[in-house]
Each structure stands twice: as structure tokens, then as C-alpha cells.
């Protein structure tokens, strides 16, 4: 075990590694309302080939974007590669506890969501952790898409970008 991960500054290789490994994402707090940030992220990630499973105990519809909505992580049949948390920071810990039980290898907390105690627990269980980031924004940043809106991606490369 090397030095602890710095949650204020992730390397591009660390984030890229997670987004390359992950195939199935459980999105806790996914909304059926099309103008909510979680709906944006789910739709975008689906378009990039990820399977996104919505988890929301208060959802009033059976499906979001063609995927069945589950009340909690334990209900989801089959393996989950990543748990994406769209809830308030203080609600992250019980979700991480569930994620550990499910054996998910990655927990990702959205922009504005940070819970260092939950992160410590997840890391102790061998999980990779990302906090206060959006997988949609990071995916697009690392794949040369974010630049359309003038965003500083921090990517320097003389290689031709693959059309996305």
C-alpha cells in the first residue's frame, strides 16, 4: 500500500483507469425528471456505452431511460462495477456501506458530494474512490469533448484524437 490517495487532485491516469474498467454503474439518486443533473449524466453515460442502473426509493416511475428503477443497491441482481452517488454528502456513508456489501469495486461521489469518513471505509474495503467530480464531465474531458465550451481540460497531446 503506497501513500494515501489525494482526494483534492486525482491524476488523469487514475480517473481514466476507472472509466475504462467500469461497464455497469448503479446511480443512487437518479431522477426521472429530465432537467435534473442526474438525468443529464445518466443519459450521457448511456450514450458512451455504459449500462446505468437507476436507484431511487422515491421514484414514481418504474423505469428511467429504459432501465428498471431499484429501491436500493441490494435489490440489483448481478454485479455492479461502480456506485455513483447523487445524494447529499452526509447521506453517502450508508450508501457506501451497501456498496461494500454488494462488492462494488468503485464508489464515485458527484460534484458537491464529499464524505471523507465514507471514503476511508471504502478504501479500507479495497475500493477505488472518487469524490466531488462528475463522471460525465471527466469522461468528456479525458476524451477531448469538453473543449467545445472553452473548458481547460489540462490535456496536452500531439496524438490525433479519436472521433467520439
Amino acid at each position: 500500500m503506497g501513500e494515501p490517495l489525494n482526494h483534492d487532485s486525482y491524476s488523469d491516469d487514475y480517473l481514466r483507469g476507472i472509466l475504462d474498467r467500469v461497464k455497469t454503474i448503479a446511480m443512487v439518486g437518479a431522477s426521472e425528471q429530465w432537467n435534473r443533473p442526474s438525468y443529464f449524466a445518466m443519459k450521457y453515460l448511456q450514450g458512451k456505452g455504459y449500462r446505468v442502473i437507476p436507484v431511487n426509493p422515491r421514484a414514481s416511475v418504474p423505469e428511467i431511460l429504459g432501465e428498471k428503477v431499484y429501491k436500493n443497491l441490494a435489490e440489483i441482481p448481478g454485479p455492479i462495477d461502480m456506485v455513483d452517488i447523487f445524494r447529499r454528502s452526509e447521506e453517502a456513508e450508508p450508501i457506501v456501506d451497501e456498496a461494500i456489501k454488494q462488492g462494488a469495486p468503485v464508489v464515485w461521489m458527484q460534484i458537491g458530494v464529499r464524505n471523507d469518513e465514507a471514503a476511508r471505509k471504502a478504501e479500507a474495503a479495497g475500493m477505488a474512490v472518487v469524490m466531488n467530480r462528475c463522471p460525465k464531465i471527466e469522461y468528456s474531458r479525458l476524451h477531448g469533448e469538453l473543449g467545445w465550451s472553452g473548458v481547460n481540460t489540462g490535456i496536452i497531446s500531439s496524438k490525433r484524437r479519436k472521433p467520439s
Binding site: 503506497g2 464531465i137 469538453l146 473543449g147 465550451s149 472553452g150 481547460n152 490535456i155 496536452i156 484524437r161
Partner: protein
Amino acid sequence: MNEKKPPAPGFETLAIHAGAAPDPTTGARSTPIYQTTAYVFDEVDQAASLFNLQSYGYLYSRLTNPTVSVLEERLAALEGGRGAVCTASGHAAQMLAFFAFMEPGDQFVSADKLYGGSITQFGKSFKKFGWDVAFADADDPANIRRAITPKTKAVFVESLANPAGAVVDLEAVARIAHDAGLLFIVDNTMATPFLCRPFDWGADLVIHSTTKFLSGHGNAMGGAVIDSGKFDWAKSPKFKSLTEAEPAYHGLRFYETFGDLAFTVHGHAVGLRDLGATMAPLNAFLTITGIETLPLRMERHVANALAVARHLEKHPKVAWVSYAGLASSRYHALAKKYLPKGAGSVFTFGLKGGYAAGVKLVEGVELISHLANVGDTRSLILHPASTTHRQLSEAQQKAAGAGPEVVRVSIGLETVSDIIADLDRALAKS
């Protein structure tokens, strides 16, 4: 499991590479000029996602264009910001920055040493929108604090102010703005990010006229607003355009949805959409090309300017020289702190012969161009009292640092002995 982050690229590397990559389709290494107004949709659903800001892509060049995007990312990288919005001119950049959060009845505080065009834009045209400005002398930052009222939303300064090269104590003014919960906006046109990095001293937005040193060759109009990504828009109800539901985007909340990208996305999706002051792709291309050599040009600009300023300071026909790079300048200590690589290349000097000597000097030069611009490869000269400031009374001219004896120069990249010889020849006849 933790990988070490590689060291951040240096300024020169960013100036050449940030934002640009070989064209995905053709492999073209130089950034192509995408001279197109619109972009095809693959299907209706994809178009809907783009219009709803749910996915990234190009719709219409008033909002975004691939050539302009490269310049935006490069400027954001050079300033150390999160994102940038390019505009048709520096004035358009100022309009777009204030439009993001100002409402009728709001006010902002501005330093009173500014580019003359900005004094007019803020003091006259902004009034038509109900936006009030209070001008304060930033030489003593306490004057800025005294001008703040409950209606104030932002503080604006030029890092290196036009025309006389006044340097603002950025760190002190940033503290005053942030203590009052206000946005701190810094125009960094005259310094460029090579000489000064306002975000390192607490600026929240940086503004440029890219027409000047960034483009560098006097051939492309443009402006930019760069966001640090660090301002908490939700901390005060003053910035509700970024935090509250936007009706034109079906109730989307920019800050909640885009986090530290909120200002940059809003600047395109609302600012450029509705103000329409978009940068032309060809101007973006020329500016990208100019920026590739910015570090080399700025080193030579400041070296030439310092040599010319030192020469003029000893000239018998010159009464005074106002250049922060000289030890005689009242701004010299601030320049050493905020502009350690040099105090830019625009400065003023006073002629003992007054108004008539100023007219003779600008008419007598052969190499130096007599025109109203700064930041060109060519050396430029202007006598404000007989041109840009001629409508003002002598008292107003003096207050603006443009009294009858004042001459402004923007020192270019010619052989420095040729610039000095040209001034000497013309001074001998004035």
C-alpha cells in the same frame, strides 16, 4: 494504488499546445479554421440533447465553434483558469462578464485608471441597462472599500492600467472584494498571463482584449472572459442568474448542474446566445497563431520598453517618464511583486515643450506608427490631447493622465536602437 501526477506543463508548452490537437478527421497539425455557421445533427434525439445542454457538441457558431474553442481552452490554460468564453472584442468581453450577473439597479466599483473606452462603456452605455459604476482611485485600495454599497456586486481593475502603466495592488483589492462577498474582475490585457497571473492573487474573472499582445500582430480583433472556477456563486443571493432555475433552459440551474464550469457554460449558452458578440473563427485562428510566440515576444517587448524608457528619462527634452519598470516610478515596488518579468511595453512620458512639442513628435517619427492601438509588433505612438482625448477639457485630460504634454508609446519588436534613433530624430525637431 496512487499514481503520482506528472508535473504541470510550463507556460511556453501551454502557449503552443493547450486546447489544440491534430484534427481527428484529417490529421491536420495546425488548428483548422472552421468557417461554418452550423453543424449537422445525426438524429432528432441528439439535437434535443444538444439544445438542452445534456451533451457536448456544436450547434451554431454564435454559441460555439471548434476554432474558437481551441483559443478559449488555451487562454484558460495560460491564465490557470477553469474555462473561457471568447468574444468579438475586449469591450464585448466586458459586456458579457457583467451581463452574467448584473440586474437593473445593481452597481459595481471600478478603478478610475482605465482604458478610456472602458470609462465610457461603464459610465455611459452600461447606464442604459440600469447598471451603475462607482469609480475609485485604486492607488489606495481603501478607496475601493469606501465605494462599496449594499448594491455592489463586483470590483473591477486593470492589473497594469492604461495609459500610464499604474500597477494595482491585486492581493489587497481581492481581499476587500472577498470580505464584502463580491466578485473580483481583473483586466489583464496590458500584462498578458506571461507577465501577470491575476488568479494567483485572488481574481475570480480575468478579462482580455486579445486584440493586443495576445494576438500580437495588430491584425485580429477579439476578447475573452476567463473564469477561475473558484467563486462560490451560491454564497450570496446576488448571483442568482447562475444558481436559480433558468427558464430558457427548462429550469436548469447552471451552478448545480455544471459546478465549477457554470460560468463558462452560461457564458456560451446564455451570454453569447443573447448578446451575439461572437469571435470570428479567422480571428481566433490568427490569435492562436500569435499566442504560440507570446513568451518570446513579451520578453523582447519588455526589454525594448525598458531600454527606451531609460533613454527617454535622460533625454533633455523629456520632463518625466511614467513606466513601472523604472526605479523612479511610484509603482515600481508593486511591479516587482505582480510583474516580476517586466512591466509591459506601454507607457507615457511628458515633453517639456508641452502640447506643440507633442504634436511635432508624433508627426515627426518615421519608423514608429502614429495610431490609436497598443500591443503590436510595430512600435506605436499617440498624443492623446490632440487625438483620443481632444474633446475633454484640460482639467479632464490631466485627470485621465492625458495632459497636453503627454505622449503614449507602445514599444514593439523592431531593433531597439532603431526605435531610439527614430524618437531622437523626431525629438530634435520638436
